[in-house]
């Protein structure tokens, strides 16, 4: 809400603008911005005309000697007839600019150098007078900045009103806040109108059919108006508050709304069929052309104002064209009402129609201010349009507005909740400053009467907040909480998340965080089967973009897209990972299933860094190594089993990550078809790991076993086998066959150049006995057994 301070100052005495803004903000009315209107006079100064001489070369010009700094006289040529010695004047020295931007330069005028300019009101942008210079008040300090001396323009506070403080959407409301913080009496504008002529009730009858939707409806009639444009003071006032001027009748309703926070509406009485105003629910199929020119279909939940025949306004939101006040209007009916906030909000939301009126009604208006606003508006309309206020008002009531009137408060409770040590008297005084009446304080309880405009106050806690915010949150002590020792625990997933993050960071990969939205088409791109459970995605009903229409059931599409974007940025090595939830439809009515997944995607581009990772290490093995190290970091005995069931993995270059009998993830090269679909044209590999499953596995610190002091014996074997023979199987067979003393078997070389269709695999076998040195014969016997097995099972020839 925009609050012009000159206007507010008519209601209550104001402190300095900075202090005002600070206290209002601290107290809950956040001042978002302080806008300065009017000309910027800060570059100009107050000068004293010490001497006025006639210009040597022009009779109509004066040559003034002006003091700005004491003892220093500036020569300024001035053409104004009223300039004279002894005057204090507004000076723009050479090098500065006038408020309209005109630069002032040192210049020769008829042969005499002028060092600046003595300004008229018009040149300062503060008035129209250009016949002579502006003579300042004698008290003005010589040399002072002009903006400190002349109050030109205004400050406008831009205040953010929280939804509970509907009472602050007006000058009166802000004035009350100022009073609560700084004290001071509020001056209310004149309200009561002079009545004349027949009673209003002669011409109009009011009824409330929908009594839940309208608590109170008041109307006043002004007869014989002449609709015209508003006087400039009214236009300026509305514009300063951010509203547009329409004509004198509508402008008055808006002005009074800004003054008291009560939205008003003006009807052309002649348009009312049957002289009747009915507050009722809209009926099915009804529609209304509104003041913005649009016709809207109404819903039975909408509240309308109708005459005997048809709706003439959408209650609390906007009037209808059919009853609009226009140039021909003679008699104006002013509506001032109190509608049920939830009803107005419902309709405003449904139609996406937020107006100054709906904004205020949704937040609740002052139930006791309905009549006052009608009176004030009638008075002003009569004044500005030459009309006459009809005798009496016409009104009707619905159900009583449900609003708490009294609250009991225990001062000890205030201190217990806030951690303060306030005396009961201080609590009372803080409440009274906000218009909260203390009815009774004898029993140790305070019985408080809530003012009618504070519909937000219902509980003792609400009053405690009122005490706290006027007392000042910054004055509440800052303490260390006391209490019993409580064990701090964390979710089971946090440890594996941390370990995975550390492990992948060590691999040189970068963690990202992406939005959880996908397009179902992404799942086609992943080549998922029609009955893949990941197809059971949830739709977002109001997505930001069509492509983000569903919640992701896999992180992969998001990450592949990020890879593509980073390749577009000409990055060559893209290695990123994300740990995030994926979503899948659950049983009917239940929350969707959420699981935490790790997905990583790595590419290898043409500009591959051969120094960092030698070329002979294929991308798959770089990634597989990362997975092995990651699983080791997790302390999990994972097996990487050849082949993956995932349709987006390359059928010949992928593994499942298996723990026990469960497949917890995949790693492998991306299927070329999928890569193409996502626009990735460089080698690309992925890792996926179900971290929710990992978190459910028992985490155990590795146990200790004795280390043997006996010497190790190492034997190397190179075996020629069929090229298609998986080395992993051979290694596993060696480990099984190597006997009790074989403590390790590793593959350390692979070579394809020996003979067509064959591959040479080199294994290193390490033997050790726990208690004694192994003999050569024992080791040789074990190796022979292995060699024999390699021949029989794998057709392996020793090289």
């Amino acid at each position: 809400m925009r609050v012009p301070l000159r206007w507010l100052a008519e209601w209550i005495a104001l402190p300095d603008v900075a202090e005002l803004a600070e206290r209002l903000t601290a107290g809950g009315l956040e001042v978002d911005a302080i806008e300065r209107t009017g000309p910027d006079l800060s570059a100009l100064q107050v000068g004293l005309v010490r001497e006025r001489l006639t210009h040597p070369n022009a009779d109509r010009l004066s040559l003034c000697k002006v003091e700005i700094r004491s003892g220093e006289l500036r020569e300024i040529v001035c053409g104004a007839p009223n300039v004279d010695a002894g005057q204090k004047v507004a000076v723009a020295l050479a090098g500065t600019r006038l408020p309209d931007g005109t630069p002032i330069k040192k210049s020769k005028i008829r042969g005499v150098t002028s060092e600046g300019m003595i300004c008229s009101a018009r040149e300062l942008g503060i008035g129209e007078d250009q016949d002579g210079i502006l003579v300042l008040d004698e008290a003005a300090e010589v040399g002072a900045r002009l903006d400190r001396v002349l109050s030109a323009g205004d400050h406008v506070l831009e205040i953010a009103i929280t939804p509970n403080r509907g009472d602050c959407t007006s000058m009166l409301g802000i004035a009350r806040e100022v009073s609560a913080h700084f004290g001071g009496r509020i001056e209310l504008p004149e309200v009561s109108p002079e009545e004349s002529g027949p009673a209003a009730s002669r011409d109009v009858r009011i009824s409330i059919d929908d009594s839940e939707g309208c608590y109170h409806y008041v109307a006043r009639l002004v007869r014989g108006v002449k609709v015209a444009s508003s006087p400039s003071w009214l236009v300026e006032r509305l514009e300063a508050a951010g509203l547009r001027s329409i004509h004198n009748v509508v402008d008055v309703t808006n002005l009074v709304m800004l003054e008291f926070g009560q939205p008003l509406h003006a009807f052309d009485l002649a348009a009312l069929q049957g002289g009747e105003v009915r507050v009722r629910a809209a009926t099915a199929g009804e529609s209304l052309e509104m003041l913005d020119g649009q016709t809207r279909s109404l819903d039975v939940a909408d509240l309308v104002i109708a005459d005997a025949e048809r709706p003439i306004a959408l209650a609390g939101i906007m009037g209808g064209s059919n009853s609009e006040v226009g140039d021909d209007t003679r008699d104006v009916l002013i509506e001032s009402a109190h509608f049920a906030p939830a009803r107005i909000r419902h309709t405003a939301r449904r139609l996406g129609l937020a107006t100054e009126a709906s904004y205020r009604f949704e937040r609740g208006v002052d139930r006791a201010g309905v009549e006052r606003a009608a009176h004030r508006a009638a008075r002003l309309i009569a004044e500005l349009t030459g009309g006459r206020v009809a005798t009496g008002l016409v009104e009707a009531r619905g159900v009583t507005c449900p609003q708490v009137d009294q609250i009991e408060l225990e001062p000890a409770r205030v201190n217990r909740l806030l951690g303060t040590d306030l005396a009961a008297s201080e609590v009372c005084s803080l409440l009274k400053r906000q218009g909260i009446e203390i009815l009774d304080q004898d029993t140790g309880h305070l019985r408080c009467r809530v003012p009618s405009h504070r519909a937000d106050l219902a509980l003792p806690e609400d009053l405690i907040e009122e005490v706290a915010r006027i007392y000042g949150y910054d004055r509440i002590p800052t303490t260390l909480q006391e209490g019993p020792l409580i064990d701090a625990t964390r979710p089971a997933s946090w440890r594996p998340v941390e370990l995975v993050q550390n492990s992948l960071r060590a691999e040189g990969w970068i963690e990202v965080a992406s939005f959880p939205f996908i397009d179902p088409q992404d799942l086609d791109h992943l080549q998922l089967d029609a009955d893949d459970p990941r197809r059971e995605t949830l739709a977002v009903l109001n997505p930001l973009a069509d492509r983000e229409s569903h919640l992701r059931s896999s992180l992969l599409p998001s990450l592949l897209r990020l890879v593509r974007e980073n390749l577009n940025r000409q990055l060559d090595h893209v290695a990123l990972f994300e740990l995030a939830r994926v979503f899948r439809v659950s049983k009917r009515g239940e929350l969707p299933e959420e699981r935490l997944w790790l997905t990583a995607v790595v590419t290898r581009g043409e500009e591959h860094d051969l120094w960092a990772v030698p070329e002979h290490v294929p991308l798959f093995f770089e990634v597989k190594g990362a997975v092995e190290r990651m699983m080791a970091a997790l302390g999990l005995p994972a097996v990487l089993r050849a082949g993956s069931a995932q349709p987006y993995c390359h059928p010949g270059a992928a593994c499942s990550i298996v723990i026990g009998r469960r497949i917890l993830g995949e790693t492998g090269e991306l299927h070329p078809e999928v890569a193409t679909r996502f626009g990735i044209d460089v080698p690309c590999a992925v890792i996926e790991l179900d971290l929710s499953a990992v978190a459910s596995l028992p985490a155990q610190a590795p146990g200790y076993h004795d280390v043997s002091k006996q010497p190790l014996v190492r034997r190397d074997l190179a075996v020629l086998v069929d090229q298609r023979q998986p080395a992993g199987e051979i290694l596993e067979a060696i480990r099984k066959r190597g006997g009790a003393n074989l403590i390790a078997a590793t593959l350390f070389d692979r070579y394809e150049g020996v003979s067509e269709g064959k591959v040479s695999l080199a294994f290193r076998l390490t033997f050790q006995h726990a208690e004694r040195t192994l003999t050569d014969a024992e080791v040789s016997k074990a190796v022979d057994r292995v060699v024999q097995m390699l021949g029989q099972r794998f057709g392996g020839e020793l090289r």
Binding site: L417, E461, T478, N566, L571
Partner: protein, 341 residues
């Protein structure tokens, strides 16, 4: 065969020359063998002593032994010299271009918010707060109603909501975890609940997804002053010991009294700059004393227990630490950005 003293001296002189002349350890070993070996010349002299006249034996024997010792010493000295030379040569031959980069990949990066999350966890776990999580897809009840925000409540406008099929929402804040966690638990307790939250807002200063932390504690006497205390300590843990906070009155349906928390702008030190919109303060989060209606929703008796709750975005701290101008830089996945942090 008689041995003369002068001959012994000549022999020693010759050995000295040869020792000095030996170019490497191998040659030195050969020289030593020639003189001091079992069949070496000096050994020959010593062996010949027995054949000398008894009066000469002692003298020649002494001199021969002395010569042997001196030669041995020369050999040792020469060996040390040769060894040193060889070490030096070996050292000088092993010359690498140490300016070449280290092998292997450069270290990767955790997401800046993950790092903030770890700091947050350290702070709260050490103060007896347990970490709790909740679903990101929530029911309207937990996201709004239980937090004292019924359907037609204007406060619902404060948070633009993503609606999900089945009548669910993407949680707009981590506050629903407060309800889920408190329900069925007996105070005293302290929790923090971090996680991703979503608002349907795509303006440049906001992100449709961000990460929040919710903290709450309930006990018989825990107060607003305690809330200020824990937030001061947390702010200083995260942003440095000279961090200043401001608590100003505000409104949230689920707390009463409520406050907004600002920290003094670190860019202008409170003087006012573009980052803080000239206010000198930067909004950090919201907090307050848990609304009695919320406690009641969780089956906690508000007449006996009271508690505080707070919530703030984690991005703000990450952005401050790294000087990131916009929140979207955290979620764009631009590796040129994340690789710096």
């Amino acid at each position: 065969m008689g041995v003369e003293i002068p001959k012994l001296e000549a022999l020693e002189e010759e050995a000295r020359r040869e020792i000095d002349g030996s170019a490497n350890l191998q040659a030195l070993v050969a020289v030593r063998a020639r003189y001091l070996g079992r069949k070496g010349s000096v050994s020959g002299v010593l062996r010949g002593i027995g054949r000398l006249a008894p009066d000469k034996r002692t003298r020649v024997g002494q001199q021969a032994n002395a010569a042997k010792q001196r030669i041995e010493e020369l050999v040792v000295q020469r060996r040390q010299a040769l060894e040193q030379g060889e070490h030096a040569r070996a050292l000088s031959e092993h010359q690498l271009d140490v300016s070449l980069p280290g092998a292997g990949r450069a270290l990767g990066h955790l997401h800046p918010v993950s790092l903030v999350m770890r700091d947050m966890e350290r702070f709260f776990c050490s103060r007896g707060f347990s970490i709790e999580e909740g679903p990101e897809v929530e029911t309207e009840y937990y996201n709004f109603d239980a937090l004292n925000m019924p359907a037609e409540h204007p406060a619902r406008d404060m948070q633009d909501t993503f609606w999900v099929e089945g009548g669910f929402v993407l949680r707009t804040h981590t506050s629903p975890v407060q309800i889920r966690t408190m329900t069925g638990r007996k105070p005293p307790f302290r929790f923090v609940a971090p996680g991703r939250v979503y608002r349907r807002d795509a303006s440049p200063r906001h992100s449709a997804m961000f990460q929040q932390i919710e903290g709450f504690a309930v006990d018989e006497r825990v107060s607003f002053a305690d809330l200020k205390g824990v937030l001061y300590a947390f702010a200083r843990h995260m942003m440095g010991t000279d961090t200043a906070l401001r608590f100003r009155a505000s409104y949230f349906p689920f707390t009463e009294p409520s406050a907004e928390i600002d920290f003094r702008c670190v860019f202008c030190n409170g003087e006012g700059c573009a980052t803080c919109s000239q206010s000198g303060w930067i909004e950090w989060g919201g907090c307050g004393m848990i609304h009695p209606q919320v406690l009641r929703s969780c089956e906690i008796d508000p007449a006996r227990y009271q508690g505080y709750a707070f919530g703030m975005g984690l991005e703000r701290v990450a952005m401050l630490r790294h000087g990131l101008p916009q929140i979207r830089l955290l979620y764009d996945g631009d590796l040129r950005v994340l690789d710096q942090l």
